[in-house]
Symmetry: D3
Subunit: 239 residues, 6 copies
């Protein structure tokens, strides 16, 4: 296993290079030995994914990033992570490749239920909560998820890690623990990945960042030799 | 990370030493570098867990195994796995230690939903299906799980890996794919851990063994530094 | 029917003899003519059941109490009641005997839905609410149950029937009526059995004590000649 | 309690006097000492309730029967039972009187879940299954109920207890056990009340007749002193 | 289509002639060219439908109004609307005629989900909320409906369009937007039909009146040539 | 209303011009007087939408078609219909314009529940059933929908209206009525719009084509003056 690392590609579907680097750093941190992490983002498209319209573009970017990685010379990634909390293009990605693909919302919600009973999501804009609600239902967590909380901190404000943004997010997480009766917090944006430790200390409960969670779960699937089912729904689409 | 491996303890709550060894072998296989796997079982109690009554004894054995490991000299396990498909004692285990604890039914069901839309569980005795149904609901997979299938192969017959048992289990998995429209199979017993590869080949769909799945997920949580929430429900119980 | 009364055994799975006597008194009060009520508790084990860990011990005590009663000389009980709001060991008890077995949480929740649309549970410690939530779902009352309220009054404080405890519980019940919009209150602990009348007067809505409710339902089943199904799940376990 | 029996009124909302007598007989059989059972039916209206249109007339008959009994000289009934499987007029009845009112579908479904995990309903005409489905959902038993089976035996054919009708019903119950995996059978018509024992013997699983079940549950509520909540929904309607 | 208009009959099941006229006016307003709207009400019965007991009488009135219209000389209505928010007699009406029948609660809830994610119902008396809850569940909108709000303004007070009543209803709608997070409001009474525009202006979100919504949906079904399924449940009842 | 018709734009997101014309024809047929129907399709992109990957392209095409229509000179459409059964881009479309937007899966499922209790969807390829399942859940019809049936007839084969294709689709619809117990059939592809009448005759139950259904519902919303809520989720996205 030494000469041939497990390769995990993190796909940030917005164009922010600093956010992509932040995502890569988290991935590397939790990957453990024998794992190679890469992170990519599209060269054009929206700078943040905060609407259904942008989500379509993000989905397109995700499918393209997987296709490019698979067509590139050298070994293909063993797994892919969609590093955007709406999990854009997840179903299409699972058609595109047999390698496991995880969304960070998906991974974060799964992980949250492994360390507590009730989680709340603390996220960016109110307008994204509908998509979050759809994902909660799609993944089966309508009883585990006790709150979806918008902070109205836009995605790009997170990159600056402004003190104000951190304070607002912390307040929202504390309110989730107190009012929603959450015993776990899920971070609702890839751009919050570097706030995880700070929030865990401030709230005293586990705080789950989907970037970190998805790398761990993807690695587990790769080591098990488990790939996406290609029967029926996720068979390769017609050319 | 070289000198201080991540320690994962697998707890088989029945008294079968060969099954315990089989479980340990699977754990070691998927653990990757820098991880130390141990597997334990109680010295007395039921030789297999196939009823609600035996499940109570299994739950007791799980809590005791965690307590013993934590009180032992040397470093405590970083995570625990309950290697019995009924996930006996899972809630109590999460009270007993802050280290992550996963059940293999839980881990297998979560993993199954990451690589397909619909899974069926192929398990041992019909009488255990009620417990499986409770777990499906507890974990939120009532839409993802499309079948619970008993083979009437008892747990201990699995240790002998009789050709007959394998044929019956294979037939059940094939029927799940065809009749339940499952695109993923979940193995419903820790004692089936060594059949995973055989069944995947026979069915052409991903086959998830909870022992393997739980090690990967536990590792991920440990590397994230995430521990069980001790707020409210999973706080340490009174002495 | 005169010479041969219907026998109902109430099982308090904690060691408190006064609470056991209180439970028996309630049972006797609602039993009507031609019924013999007995109440038992274990001689060792936890003095109250307020955690998942204690619940395992309680489950064990329940199964043993049923086994002892069935092995004793003289007629066996015609039905059993598990007088602890977590309904510990209920599934195992139904394997152990064909005589009907009811949990008091189960009986109380069923009864509540017969006299109103929405109930809230008023119980002891916050840490027990997870178990209550599981039971609500198991029994199908996720729409009928509109609140789970912890008072942080420990089980054993109830035995002293302190004025303070009563006031706190009354306040919680009133809040349930007002804020949860409950039109029925369910008492969340066998030790509250003697507060039922007081709370009904204070709130003006039906207040259901599971000890009383379970005796009535058990009697009904016995008079119908209905016993637990022994097909599949609740067949006797292997010895 | 000797001089003043508990009074339970069974209301058959169709005009069949023999069916009313059959219902009364079952009620008396399971009532136990100290209980007085009466059974009434309207003098005009449909001879059987097998459509939504007839259900409206049945609902009207139920409300009138309760009103008449409450206005009559002498003590009012302590509880009422709606002896028709559609539970017609149940909500209106709970507005009309504070005495507990139970429907036989309601009581049968509740009882079924106390002695097994999964029940199927075996009933008369296919066209009534929609109403049964609504009731299953209203009472919270959508997971417990695994089958709704019509025999196409009309209600009035049951009064003749024709061998053919019994054979068809028995076959349906056996199919429910085998194909739906029911471990309990619920009889879907008051007119089947006298088939309960025969079917239990034929199937080997508990068979629940709602007439019997409702009497037991009603008695329990009366002995507890529990009446319908008059807060909000079930307050008396305007005159 | 010019000589033979589409005929839609609106049935107000209470005896208020002014309310019936108000309902007809709304129907006419939204019907478009080529459509003939009639509105009827019973000559005796309750003056408003605000309890389960009155709902039975309303159901009876609905079935009779459809029967009368179908037996009258001249062309029968092409569709019927039940203009009372409890949708009384809807299932029976679908047995009575093959022409489409819609309830205004049904139509309003459906329409609400077409223009937003979450709706709250603003209605009259608290005691009617149970029925509304049943309808939400029956129609499948338990996730879309985020609030049921009673104003305690009785139905008949609406006819006077008192300023006070309008203010209370407006406050309730505003609270629904703010506290329930509704993005659409559903009016919970046919008598509110003339407040729709006022409330839409006051709240800034779509406000759905079921009278208007049902006319549009009924027209659509008629133009498609779609009638109620007469297979099984909605076949004509026995005479 | 004579000089200024209501304008409804049907958007076929695949490139098939004949299918677009077929869709327009259906729309015109059910629109009634005073309504102008247009139908558009993209000039490039997939010729049919039969995978998640193609659905992303379809979503993009839908958003673009709405934007073009709104930017064009002359009056904008009063409502839009997405004429593809996956309802691609529906949420994004609701951000793009305040005019009502309906998907044909959405409209068909809503309409089906207005004329029966249980519907089955008869559609093209098995691989599209996952998306259909997601939509059923999103719209709240998980109890109303009793079957999702793939015929393996590809979308483009429908344009040829081959006898074979019609026979296979008819058989599937008949099986849905018989085996799923559907009393209504929903056509699962815009390309089936011309089979509606044939299938209704063959099955004897209502058959719902979403193109027709959506035009009726859209018209109703327009005549009510109801537009999409622009509060929160469906506010215009950032440029």
């Amino acid at each position: 296993m030494s000469a041939d690392p497990i390769r995990i590609q993190l796909i940030n579907p917005n164009t922010s290079v600093p956010m992509t680097e932040k995502i890569r750093a988290t991935g590397q941190l939790v990957a453990g030995p024998g794992v190679s992490i890469t992170a990519v983002c599209p060269s054009k498209g929206p700078s943040s994914i905060e609407s259904h319209t942008e989500e379509i573009l993000a989905a397109q970017a995700v499918v393209e990033a997987i296709g490019e990685a698979e067509r590139a010379s050298g070994p293909s990634p063993d797994a892919h992570v969609i590093a955007c909390f709406g999990d854009p293009g997840l179903d299409a990605a699972r058609e595109t490749t047999g390698a496991p693909v995880l969304g960070i919302a998906e991974a974060a919600m799964h992980a949250a239920t492994l360390v507590g009973r009730h989680f709340s999501v603390v996220t960016t804009l109110d307008r994204t909560l509908g998509r979050a609600e759809d994902l909660v239902l799609r993944y089966g967590f309508e009883r585990a998820c006790v709150g979806l909380r918008a902070t109205e901190v836009p995605v790009l404000a997170l990159e600056e890690a402004e003190a104000d943004a951190v304070a607002v997010i912390t307040d929202s997480a504390l309110a989730a623990v107190r009012e929603d009766r959450a015993d776990v917090i899920v971070l609702g944006c890839a751009g919050m990945t570097d706030l995880c430790q700070t929030l865990a200390e401030a709230t005293g409960v586990p705080v789950i960042d989907g970037v970190a969670a998805s790398v761990g779960m993807a690695l587990g699937l790769v080591r098990m030799g488990t790939r996406t089912s290609r029967l029926r729904e996720y068979a390769p689409p017609k050319a």
